[in-house]
């Protein structure tokens, strides 16, 4: 597979599939690399390349910490200008509302850490919601188990497709469409009211004054952070996202890692679906999780996790989800149309992706 000296011409299509080791024409050039300047990291004689606060450094600072800044600004604004903002009831409401998004976004963050994306999370929520009333006859916990297993199954399909070479965006787009369809078929297209104390507690109960959905989201976040820091799986995930050919050549189980991460995302989406259903006291497969993939991806990206993979920011993701929620709340409380919130969110995501632009490779 050795490529010709000097690489292939610039206008020649080069294989872009990073899953094929040894097919990297641009980088097989040796010392004279006509496709661009020699990367700084391989300049002989320089042992430390330090430019933490150049132009790129400032942009990367924005990407890493911008979400905290924006959240701070928005909180201050609301504290000053929004009546009844700083009440326990309001803060609790905001947190409960953001919990499902946060849970889905945490799964999304792990998927994005492998350089992938999961568009099917909203439909997975809908499948979980649709399954609950069908199995509630066996009791709440069996029903929840079935819903969560369904989420795992969706993840297995996604992960299997991705592991065997389908692009993540395509693989999960299929289930975005098919999953919602399946949910509507399961529920016969109807909204079903649910009166189950266990589900209601999961969706709206409290422990020590803290709403259960919020506790669930926090638990998931702590678990995700622990897995990323301490578990071998976390290292594998970041290696697969950071440099997949290298992970393959290091003998890591790349496919198994990919499948696992999509299964995790599916399970978390199903949990969010259960939670939402419980809070609404209704299974609503048409609207449960609709467009949540966009909120989740936004939360992840705004939180500083690069779309290219190789790095995951858990706290940032939580803050990103919170920021998105707060934007909607602010807009609503100031009697603006909620499409205003969408435009602000759009501006923020564009800024976040722009801030990520320069940081690939370091």
């Amino acid at each position: 597979m050795t490529e010709p000296a000097g690489g292939t011409p610039a206008f020649h299509p080069t294989p872009a599939d990073d899953s094929a080791p040894g097919r990297s024409p641009a980088s097989a050039d040796g010392p004279v690399a006509p496709n661009g300047p020699v990367p700084a990291a391989s300049v002989p004689g320089r042992s430390h390349v330090a430019d933490p606060m150049g132009a790129a450094g400032r942009v990367s600072w924005l990407s890493d910490y911008g979400v905290y800044l924006a959240l701070g600004v928005l909180l201050s604004f609301n504290l000053v200008f929004t009546p009844n903002f700083a009440t326990v009831a309001n803060l609790r409401l905001q947190l409960v509302q953001v919990a499902p998004v946060a849970i889905v976004a945490l799964g999304m963050a792990l998927v994005i850490g492998t350089g992938g994306i999961d568009l099917s999370v909203g439909s997975t929520m809908a499948i979980a919601a649709a399954l609950l009333p069908l199995y509630l006859g066996y009791g709440p916990w069996p029903a929840i188990t079935v819903a969560v297993l369904a989420g795992a199954a969706v993840g297995l399909v996604n992960g299997g497709l991705v592991a065997y070479g389908i692009q993540p965006i395509v693989a999960t787009l299929g289930l975005l469409v098919a999953g919602r369809g399946a949910a509507l078929v399961l529920a016969d297209g109807r909204l079903v009211e649910i009166f189950d104390p266990t589900l209601a507690a999961i969706g709206g109960g409290q422990v020590l004054e803290i709403p259960l959905p919020v506790l669930t989201a926090l638990t998931v976040a702590v678990a995700a952070g622990f897995v990323l820091r301490r578990a071998a799986f976390g290292r594998k995930l970041l290696a697969v996202g950071g440099n997949r050919p290298a992970a393959l050549l290091a003998g890591l189980p790349v496919r198994r890692t990919l499948i696992t991460v999509y299964v995790i995302s599916g399970v978390l989406a199903a949990m969010a679906g259960v939670l939402t259903t419980g809070r609404q006291s209704a299974s609503d497969p048409s609207f449960t999780g609709l467009l949540i993939e966009l909120s989740a991806i936004t939360a992840v990206v705004v939180g500083g996790t690069p779309l290219a993979g190789g790095r995951v920011r858990i706290l940032g993701t939580l803050m990103g989800a919170l920021l998105m929620q707060l934007i909607i709340a602010t807009v609503i409380q100031h009697d603006l149309h909620d499409s205003t919130a969408r435009m602000i969110q759009a501006a923020i995501i564009v800024t976040a992706v722009y801030a990520q632009r320069n940081r690939n490779g370091t």
């Binding site: 097989a28 391989s42 002989p44 290696a239």
Partner: protein, 514 residues
């Protein structure tokens, strides 16, 4: 010599700090096939890109058909009569052969509509001239690569090309297709077309071309008629070595030969076959032995190294480790059975730039450092400390991201990643390429030391490193082993003779494809 079609005069081109072309002149004459050869990074592609208007030269001029020219891009160059045929031909695979042939200059009827019958007739006629008989209505993508290439050439010529540039045209062709290409080039020459033929294959140079130019490190080393050029002279020019036997010592930091003795091979690879790359290469590595792979670019050195590690799928062949034959073979299994590799392309296949030095070193060792799914911090830090010290990895701390280190230190991290697995065999593909002299010497000394401790090493490297560092040298040519040299037999002259030897007679490995 015939009139020149295209002349490059004193072309220089700089990319950042590197001079890719340094005052290179080339004269491409009508009816002449001109071979352009050189190793990796010699500047061949850059020169082609200057000729076809992709790059603007920093110095020098290009004259085409007697006039100085400055093309704005390949399309512009093509209009002026310079066509390029690339390895993987760029045509529209879903369009028919005839459509591809006449893309952009289709015959039209008086009504301005496409004249389909004339298109088919002319396409069939044109291709027949190149000995291609296919149904021109078939989509191009359904046809073999050889035929696609013929269509590309026919297209170039019918677009009135005066110069056809072919960049490794045979790299993915079957031998029979390559023969046909040679015939077609003959036809082109009779029409007075100049051909610039880039290849790594010596046999092709001598069979197809009349004149040769050798580039090395951006400079023109040699240009002349092939009937006045010896094969060994050409090899020496490409490798930048004098033809005379000079076995210098102390150029590298390798020591003397290692005690290999008669131990049974720890690694035995038999008849490795991979389409278009390897045609039955066999390799044996004993404990404590450094086996070097020598050969020109494209001769199958990296391909052999990767095949032995299981990095690329094989079409045939077997790998045996410590006497145990393996049916399934991939990097994970190779690592578990004690065969490790540091790949050639550090950036693309080696380091995970966003992870720390610590995580990069322990990446492959993760399964061994994990208890109940969790990484044992103490075991991990012990490994990292030991190897950072032993290899002298210069990082501000083990937490520093590998992407911030120099090339040499990144390479050491990759070595540590594999050495901490305590391998029986270490495959090193160009371990000292692109790193500074100090790190280079350290890595050479390390390889030596590891071999003395009993590690078997399979080394792909520059000729001088192979000559000084290897106990056994397998010389590769066109994906076959052209010869094996041991101990005192090893020398630059001997290796270059084997590389230069014509054809596949006398080769050690069998050729399966012809």
């Amino acid at each position: 010599m015939n009139e020149p079609v295209c002349e490059a005069h004193a072309i220089s081109k700089r990319f950042g700090g590197t001079l890719a072309l340094d005052q290179v002149s080339l004269r491409l004459a009508a009816g002449e096939a001109h071979a352009l050869v050189g190793e990796n990074g010699a500047g061949k592609s850059t020169l082609i890109k200057v000729l076809t208007g992709v790059h603007r030269p920093d110095g020098g001029t290009v004259r085409h058909l007697g006039r100085p020219v400055s093309f704005s891009g390949p399309a512009d160059a093509q209009d002026a009569g310079i066509s390029s045929i690339y390895q993987e031909v760029e045509l529209a695979p879903l369009l028919s052969v005839a459509d591809n042939l006449f893309l952009g200059r289709e015959p039209i009827t008086r009504l301005g509509l496409l004249d389909r019958s004339r298109l088919r007739r002319e396409a069939t006629e044109v291709l027949a001239r190149y000995g291609v008989t296919v149904d021109v209505r078939r989509p191009l993508g359904e046809l073999g690569l050889g035929i696609r290439q013929m269509v590309a050439i026919a297209r170039a010529v019918s677009a009135r090309a005066r110069l056809v540039i072919m960049d490794e045209p045979t790299s993915s062709l079957a031998p029979r297709e390559a023969d046909r290409l040679a015939d077609v080039i003959e036809v082109l020459r009779e029409q007075g077309i100049a051909i610039l033929y880039v290849t790594h294959k010596l046999d092709e140079v001598f069979r197809v071309c009349q004149r040769v130019s050798v580039l090395r490190d951006g400079r023109l080393i040699h240009t002349g008629l092939l009937r006045e050029t010896s094969r060994i002279g050409l090899v020496a020019a490409m490798l930048g070595r004098p033809v005379a036997e000079v076995r210098r010592h102390g150029v590298t930091s390798f020591g003397e030969a290692h005690e290999v003795g008669r131990a049974a091979p720890v690694l035995r690879a038999e008849s490795l076959v991979r389409e278009h790359a390897l045609h039955g290469v066999s390799i044996e590595v004993r404990p404590g032995e450094v086996v070097g792979l020598a050969g020109l670019l494209g001769s199958g050195r990296s391909e052999t190294a990767r095949a032995v590690f299981g990095a690329d799928p094989l079409d045939a062949g077997s790998v045996e480790v410590a006497g145990r034959a393996r049916r399934r073979w991939n990097p994970a299994i190779a690592i578990r059975s004690g065969v490790c590799m540091v790949p050639e392309d550090r950036k693309a296949e080696g380091v995970v730039p966003g992870l720390s030095v610590r995580d990069n070193i322990t990446l492959a060792a993760l399964p061994r450092l994990t208890r109940g799914g969790l990484v044992s911090r103490r075991a991990r830090d012990r490994v990292v400390d030991a190897f950072v010290r032993r290899l002298g990895i210069k990082a501000s701390s083990p937490d520093q991201k590998v992407g911030e280190l120099s090339g040499g230190n990144q390479q050491k991290v990759l070595l540590a990643r594999m050495l901490c697995l305590h391998p029986k065999v270490l495959i090193l593909d160009e371990p000292t390429r692109g790193i500074d002299i100090g790190a280079k010497a350290e890595i050479q000394a390390l390889i030596d030391e590891l071999a003395q401790e009993g590690l078997g090493v399979l080394l792909v490297a520059e000729l001088e490193e192979i000559v000084e560092g290897a106990d056994t040298v397998v010389v590769l040519r066109d994906g076959t082993a052209a010869g094996v040299l041991r101990g005192a037999e090893i020398g630059e002259r001997r290796i270059m003779e084997l590389i230069a030897a014509a054809g596949s007679d006398g080769s050690v490995g069998g050729r399966f494809d012809d």
